[in-house]
């Protein structure tokens, strides 16, 4: 029997794409499907997925959990857990449509949740940490239940299949958001487990990633010291935890996070002016085990923004473009041109150089 993600480490090649409206204009999911489907050959039908931000304005203050269940028993068990820890504002099946190429779907449910104030106070944790811990508990302790999205006013939609079919299956044209990321997966070996598809998300962070990092086990063994459990053994999972640890827990800025995971070479740091040199030296020394090597291009979605980052040698292709208030990024230029034939500017970001876009105003 093939082992699934979490039982074995499976390297993947991939396609990624992202769209961001800096003015907060909400765009439908159709554009991102069109973009990622242009790179059809970069995935092999064993995983596709999307993350949309600003898609749940009516429930923007509640945590939106998207959960896969293997069976009704797992659902009942998980719902009992949710009832004990959260005030359930709303629950429903996530609407899907039949697609001949999307098969073996699990039960897919969505919950809008607020932590129970008494439970939260008892835990002595801050709210986000409480929610993150609940997700980890469900994913590691309730057999057959898997939370794959847990942020506010955002959601992940993923499945085994080509991304364009996944988008159709989830009826993404019915959602609109200010930011979309997409992923098409080319794993080298997988039994086709839906939880193993990307994006990988935790709270409002979501990651799509193309690459195979050579530092994986060094990063994993470090981050697991801080209460994370890498249960999928994928790059995307460990990178998400690293960013959560540095950005949310250690309060580093995203630029500083990039300087840790795609650190400048020592020879570059040596030639920086003093203030910069001290900062970069400090970050490399303090978090040396979180340096990520090997090829990667990642898109990090977060509340109100998106960051794109390549490995420091730029071993994976990644192209960025701008048109008025729109920002585009993708593994290949064609995936941008198909939705924006005449960008104002199109360029290939340097290795290790983060590109961060944020909303200039609130979500429109």
């Amino acid at each position: 029997m093939l082992l699934k993600e979490g039982q074995i480490r499976i390297p993947s090649g991939c396609a990624i794409s992202g769209i961001f409206a800096k003015d907060g204009k909400r765009i439908s999911g159709e554009a991102i499907i069109k973009s990622i489907s242009t790179m059809h050959d970069r995935s092999n039908g064993l995983g596709g997925g999307f993350a949309g931000y600003g898609i749940y304005p009516e429930y923007k203050d509640s945590y939106a959990f998207h959960i896969f269940y293997d069976d009704i028993e797992a659902r009942e068990k998980c719902e009992r857990f949710l009832d004990r820890h959260f005030d359930v504002v709303n629950l429903s099946k996530i609407p899907t449509r039949k697609n001949p190429r999307i098969i073996n779907e699990p039960l897919i449910w969505r919950y809008f949740l607020n932590p129970l104030p008494t439970k939260l106070a008892d835990s002595q944790l801050d709210e986000k940490e409480y929610v993150a811990k609940c997700c980890i508990r469900i994913n590691t302790q309730i057999d057959g239940a898997y939370v794959f999205s847990s942020g506010k006013n955002m959601g992940v939609f993923k499945a085994v299949g080509f991304p364009e079919d996944v988008g159709d299956f989830y009826r993404l044209e019915e959602y609109s958001g200010y930011c979309w990321t997409a992923h098409g997966r080319y794993p080298t070996n997988t039994p086709g487990w839906w939880g193993g598809a990307h994006p990988f998300a935790m709270l409002d962070y979501s990651i799509v990633h193309n690459g195979e990092i050579s530092s994986y086990d060094a990063n994993r063994r470090y981050i697991e010291m801080f209460g994370y459990k890498c249960s999928l053994l994928t790059d995307t999972e460990v990178i998400t935890y690293i960013i959560d640890f540095l950005n949310r827990k250690k309060k580093l800025t995203l630029e500083e996070v990039a300087a840790v995971i795609a650190a400048p070479f020592w020879s570059t740091i040596e030639h920086m002016e003093e203030k910069e040199r001290i900062k970069y030296t400090y970050l490399r020394r303090a978090f040396s085990s979180l340096l990520v090597t090997g090829p990667f291009s990642i898109l990090l979605g977060f509340d109100g923004g998106m960051m794109a980052l390549n490995d420091r040698l730029k071993l994976r292709s990644m192209v960025a473009a701008e048109k008025d208030n729109m920002f585009y990024i993708a593994s290949e230029e064609c995936a941008i041109r198909i939705i924006e034939p005449n960008p104002d500017k199109i360029w290939s970001p340097k290795g290790g150089e983060p590109i961060i876009v944020t909303l200039e105003g609130g979500v429109k």
Partner: protein, 502 residues
Amino acid sequence: MAALDFLYPDYEVVRNFDKCINCRLCEKQCANEVHSFNSDLKKMIADDSKCVNCHRCVAVCPTRALKIVKTDHTFKENTNWTGKTIEEIYRQSSNAGVLLSSMGNPKPFPVYWDKILINASQVTNPPIDPLREPMETKVMLGKKPDTIERDEEGNIIDNLAPHMELDVPILFSAMSYGSISYNAHESLARAAEELGILYNTGEGGLHEDFYKYGKNTIVQVASGRFGVHKDYLESGAAIEIKMGQGAKPGIGGHLPGTKVLEDISKTRMIPLGSDAISPAPHHDIYSIEDLRQLVYSLKEATDYKKPVIVKIAAVHNIAAIASGIARSGADIIAIDGFRGGTGAAPTRIRDNVGIPIELALASVDQRLREEGIRENVSLIVGGSIRSSADVVKAIALGADACYIATAALLALGCHLCQSCQLGKCNWGIATQREDLVKRLNPDEGYKRLVNLVKSWEHEIKEIMGGMGINSIEALKGNRLMLRGIGLTEKELSILGILHAGE
């Protein structure tokens, strides 16, 4: 009684008389007085019983007339009572003494380094060519900060503890002035300076001539406290407390008075000709809380400017001991495996006490991570690291850097005859005899050490590049890059690696 004491020599000197020109160089070069000229026969003769098999005569013979062979003289074959075992009984029943040996454990215990294989990239990610791309081997050793602090403008405040910076993750391990010669120390110090790494004074203090290499020096404080004073502590880049040594865990040291000549007596701050005895324990450290006090005493004495290393021998309960040390205020833990070298150790201790460094390292690294205190300390491992491949495997198992000493001595000319305790090292390393010390030219010695470490550095970069890793930090603890071969489930689980093919 002579017949009872007779032991047939282990090695025989074979001379090709067709080539020998009676130049008598072998005679002059052998401090063990093996060779002599027989004027009646008009030819050179050799007393095999004095030969330690150090190859000095073989190496200097201008006509290549000499070689040393293992004797085929034998007892009746017996796997239980080997010739070596029988002879040791004869020796002890003759002199009632503790058997002494030098250098590391030579017994056929498993060498785990040789049962571990390294990964390389194929297709799914690219190998990196170190000739075309930067390949970083620099490491920083020391405690990592717990919290990020910022000033009012939001700039990060540099709150890092004192650390050591190494251009390559290799250091020269402790060898005292006394156990090795002045010229050997000079070679190590100069090589460390040129390589951007550190050497270690060992427990014999620091000769005043070598204070100038301070930023590349680790000064050691051992149970005998020889040569320890304020200037000494302040002269180095780091201070090492030696609790134990892999070759002789639980045992102190003994430098015979015959080796305590003027310079050594001055450096060690002991009377001329007196035996230098290091007690087995530090008499102010009978437990972990005492160690903590010494760590902080040394930090107080040096104004909290230098990292403190605690060196321990790899013994059975190593993970728990290391966990205690990681909470003691020490910045770095050095672990010495049972194959580590020594200038003299009781043979039975050397050959039977302690555990392999590979297993000790794997269990310490894992334990410190499980307790969430791995970042409190850096880990240096030694005893014995024999090649760049061993270094790569050690780092992938979880070490920050490696100590080398036997390999460094080999670079200086040591031929591993394991007779350091005799003090007659023909290569000028483990001796204080002036005529012998002169044979080791520090100008040449330091260059050879530099060559050795540089060649390892090249090899480390090639291996890293093959794995698609371009910085040594991303290799540290990266156990997925390793696979075991021919190991049991238990061994694999201690090493924390998968079997080849998995």
